[in-house]
Symmetry: D2
């Protein structure tokens, strides 16, 4: 097909953070254009956002229900192909379901749903729909994260023994909720965020990253889940001991009260022969360590990387790509698949490399299991999906 | 105005590097859409590029002359507003002139022209045209570079004494030209690149960065200009001693034969009280050093930065932005100015912060002066514009 | 007193690592001279070591018992003042006891003893002896670790909330024991090392560092203790969730199977207002992070540090000190106390800042508690001394 | 021989910096003991220093002349073997000459002499004396600097094309001289320091490092030499373009007015195939960069290094050594040679690897040539020894 995919967005109005990221990531590669939106549950705010985004006012809707219905009724050469949903967690399930049932492919912000029950139901809906579904676990979009996975997959590190993943933030060191901070408000509110705070917000990213790179699955957790800031309703700090299905051990730490920390997600994976280390503060570098040889600095954009890393890179070595490009890699791969689907052709294997329903279901199970473990007096909690 | 600006591109067809960067940078913020192009001097290649970019075939042209003429003839609500020119240096002057004379605003890749004569003539054309002109010296688009300039401007460092700027690359360590490497070919060819190799390609970036951050001007140069790789026609390595108009001294080094280096452009500026250091490998950080106090790590996306840094940032602290976003900052500021111009309103001061004609003319003078100094047996060569 | 202290050494013969470190650390500041030794349980090896060390053959002994007895019988102006004991763990208690009972001050390598029972007994012996006792937990000797403690102590970080300490090594990734590797042999042998492997060898260092910097005490542990390499008899990997006596949480990780890692002991401590981070790979730097202000890079040797940091520094800023100097700080402070004691004067408070019997007893308790927790199915194990 | 070498020191009394470094470096390996000294030209201060150093008062002398004469008259089994001279530059020549002529081996702080004339005369004296002479250019004592030299020597980088060496300091950003700062006083005083300030003090280190690692010799210089701080008498900042005897180009920068900088001496050497980078802030690491392969991180204390690097290392990988150990490497190698000489045996080749008379003479020539070039209006000044 010789046109851009047309996208409508749910959420992402004034005060939102992730909606703007989705928009930039979606359009920057020229595969998708934003043509419609229901940007807020407040119709006035939705309209205002549409104006700022230079959209046709006819296609800026007061609610996602109306957007999906009306867009579905438009002629084939005009209506949207894709719905991007960037609302708080409690408004993930319903618009996703509605969009899929009306024939749209969906991009959804993580975590997948408000709870595991919704996640499993959504899984079944997605599978029935035959549509593509992308869950934006950003960090697996980085080319050097993909390179790390290649190192594990190709056995270069030997059998994996140890996984260490930490996601420190400091922005919730004080009680910001209730102080007109929209981001803090919903993320710490059980009625909108779900049963977890930090573990749902960023713990799921760390969990997803660990399983993505290693190709392993967590089988047991032992969690220390804390509410550090007085008056907060959900966890803002936690550390989890992990066991994986090959016997490897691990640690996952996620916190939003490590004052002065930004988003330094870091993962270290060690096998019998060596290890890989990736840090979000220097995302275009993958450090590869060897038992009895010098460590190597692998860099995005170089000729010696795997094809999958190259496919997810836009600039030559030394011209840093960042968070938006990692996000855009998911959008681009998703878009290539959707286009192939519209054209009735088979997608290339590397296009299928974006997070989806399985990541979503396991992410929700992660939340369940660590929250349960946090309350348990028994050391190990089986990881149940 | 409630629409995106419409852009046509000259150059950037198959095998090009910078054209793709321009496209992503132009569109990612939703202020510009690419609707037309003359992507290659080979009409077939131009057509092919247009298809890949999902453009209307009617607006993919076999030459820039045709694009400019035909677009100029389109109705106001359809024709392009902006021409982006991303060709090799010898094809900068003519399309820019033609575009301006046909009423289009222009974004042009650096260096401005093939030689200084063209640059001065273009300056006069631009000034007469009343149109906006943006010269994409990428690095001044980074928010932490802008923060560095604020530190100097606000006197936090005291009077500036020393500037140290280095741009090491290694990709031309071998004679790649003539070996089917399009990038190496034209950059080392005097008939397309002009009188300088590395000094024009990346030396001008380093020069521009130094003058931008310090607000100073180079007044004398002493250059050691080398052709290291046998068979090469233009300089691939050079070091330049600098004197600035306030008496400060400096060093500028640019090389393409430092094997293993990527694009680690680094600048250090020192005043009486302290210094700032910015590195392209870690572009979201500005290191501020003090005479008798701990150095500080300033980070993009934080609340304590200047307004100008914040205006040029898209993500919260810790979510790295990169090269494309720095590029996009120039495009966005340029676009905001163009839109204000179309709306007949005054642009905000921070929108005017993109490189333009003065940067271009001084950049061409830099090439002239360092190449002349490189041949001279006298130590200091006056910097003549 | 106007002379160097005289020291005799137990252990540290051919093939030893830590004995040589002790010797350099002891003598480099000119406060101590090595004059005697029983360097090996093999008299021939002891003799050989003494020759290499340029010692008077009369004062090189075949056993520590003989050294202590014979030195005790020497005249005051000749006999040793101090015994340094650098043997494997199972030979810590007896020589320390004998040395103290014969009137010598003692420096002992960590962990204090073979087990907790010995530790408590030794505590009582030390207290009765009236002699100085130094336990060489190296890392608290670094000036920037001391600066970190000052930051906590002075309340600059607010109440402490989170402690994260990791000590990764990779050298035991393969089964080196039994392959003529003296270091691996005894460290993995329960009859010489005690009940713990990695947790005793380096876990105790991490534990000591955390309690030293924060001034807090661990009250509960939840440990995942692993033997990763097949055939090994003691733990080579472990992660521990921690609770401290002010309610703070923490994680301690120590491993010797993280292939490619050296000794990158790292500690991060966070309070309400900010955090400190110290890394053994860059020991002359302390990173101080703030909630809403730029992080600061504190550097050893600068004028803005605390007096205690300055007292433990030998070089101006930018001239790196390292492991041996950190070790030497303990020796120097110990020596200054011993000299004061001999002179009958009171030591300065900063001289008393070296690890001693309390560190030793708690370190042995750490081993007990984490090994017990590792076997327990209950999540939290009370930290019992 | 089965004893330590006996050393007497000239200079290094109260207020001195480098004298204390020499003492720690000399004694830490147990090869040398300090037994005598003339620590100040003020006899009272010399006496006081001797007391603090626990020396026999009989061997603390009021002048170096007296020390050398009296020590020379002592019996063979008591008198010193080595004289260490750590005075300001104008008191280098005379005590060195006197020491050599009285049969002592000499360690001398750099630069070798007050001027080149003295240096050449001293060269002839040293050669006639048959004694060992060590000039303490500290930085070539680092094991990873030695590893860098091995990489060049073994051709791993191909023919060397570019050398970039920078030594930034900031401590002389203000006019400290005359303000009771002994270090600033003599270093900026032409009557004690010689004709150069920063170029003699640290420029010579950078120069020595460049020639040591590359095995090349500078043949031409083009220097910009500045006095930045008003009222200062000697240069405090300078940058030098370099040509080497194989045609390679380079830059050397040394400054003491880069506010906030400590001692971040950095060298980068590039050949046809790759480059090496060493930084004094992380001295146990050597970065090796390759044209089309990942960069490697070589670390001190590892098994994969050259024998010469290993010989100059005391700790296992990850236990950082620093400035004092680099210094001590020169002392140890020197001591091993002196002992071999006393024993009448041939030194091992790796023991001879310490800086000596040739380094000294070339260092003085460096000062002459850059100061002359700084005054010249001609671009290139031939490097004359």
């Amino acid at each position: 097909m010789n046109r851009k995919l047309r996208m409508g967005m749910v959420g992402g109005g004034p005060g939102a953070f992730i909606g703007a990221i989705h928009r930039m990531a979606a359009i920057m590669d020229g595969e998708i254009e934003l043509v419609a939106g229901a940007f807020s549950s407040d119709p006035q705010k939705s309209k205002q956002a549409g104006e700022q985004l230079n959209l046709d006012p006819q296609r800026v809707y007061p609610s996602y229900e109306e957007m999906i219905k009306k867009e579905a009724a438009l002629p084939e050469d005009k209506k949207i192909d894709v719905v991007a949903i960037v609302t708080p967690n409690h408004v993930h399930f319903a618009p996703t379901k509605l969009a899929l049932e009306n024939g749209f492919h969906v991009v959804l912000d993580k975590p997948m749903t408000f709870d595991s029950k919704e996640a499993k139901e959504l899984k079944s809906i997605i599978e029935k729909s035959g549509k593509y579904f992308c869950l934006t676990h950003t960090y697996t979009g980085y080319p050097m994260v993909k390179e790390a996975r290649e190192y594990v997959k190709n056995g270069k590190l030997g059998a994996i023994r140890k996984i260490f993943v930490t996601y420190p933030q400091g922005w919730l060191s004080n009680l910001l909720e209730g102080a007109d901070n929209k981001q803090a408000d919903w993320r710490t509110d059980p009625s909108r965020s779900g049963k977890a705070g930090v573990m749902g917000d960023i713990g799921t990213h760390a969990f997803n990253l660990a399983e993505y790179i290693t190709g392993l699955q967590v089988t047991k957790v032992c969690a220390d889940i804390n509410i550090v800031v007085k008056g907060r309703k959900l966890d803002d700090d936690g550390s989890v001991l992990l066991k994986f299905n090959n016997g490897a051990s691990g640690v996952l730490m996620a916190s939003q009260i490590m004052a002065g920390e930004e988003n330094d997600l870091t993962i270290q994976v060690y096998g019998e022969k060596g290890g890989v280390e990736w840090k979000h503060t220097d995302p275009n570098t993958l450090l590869v360590k060897w038992l009895d040889a010098p460590a190597q600095i692998l860099r995005a954009g170089t000729g010696y990387l795997s094809d999958v890393a190259k496919h997810n890179t836009r600039t030559p070595a030394g011209h840093p790509e960042g968070y938006i490009e990692a996000f855009a890699n998911h959008y681009r791969n998703f878009a290539l698949c959707v286009k192939a689907s519209i054209d009735g052709v088979k997608p290339k294997p590397e296009w299928l490399d974006f997070p989806g329903v399985e990541d979503g279901v396991r992410g929700m199970a992660f939340i369940d299991n660590v929250i349960e473990s946090g309350k348990s007096e028994t050391k190990w909690t089986e990881f149940v999906v």
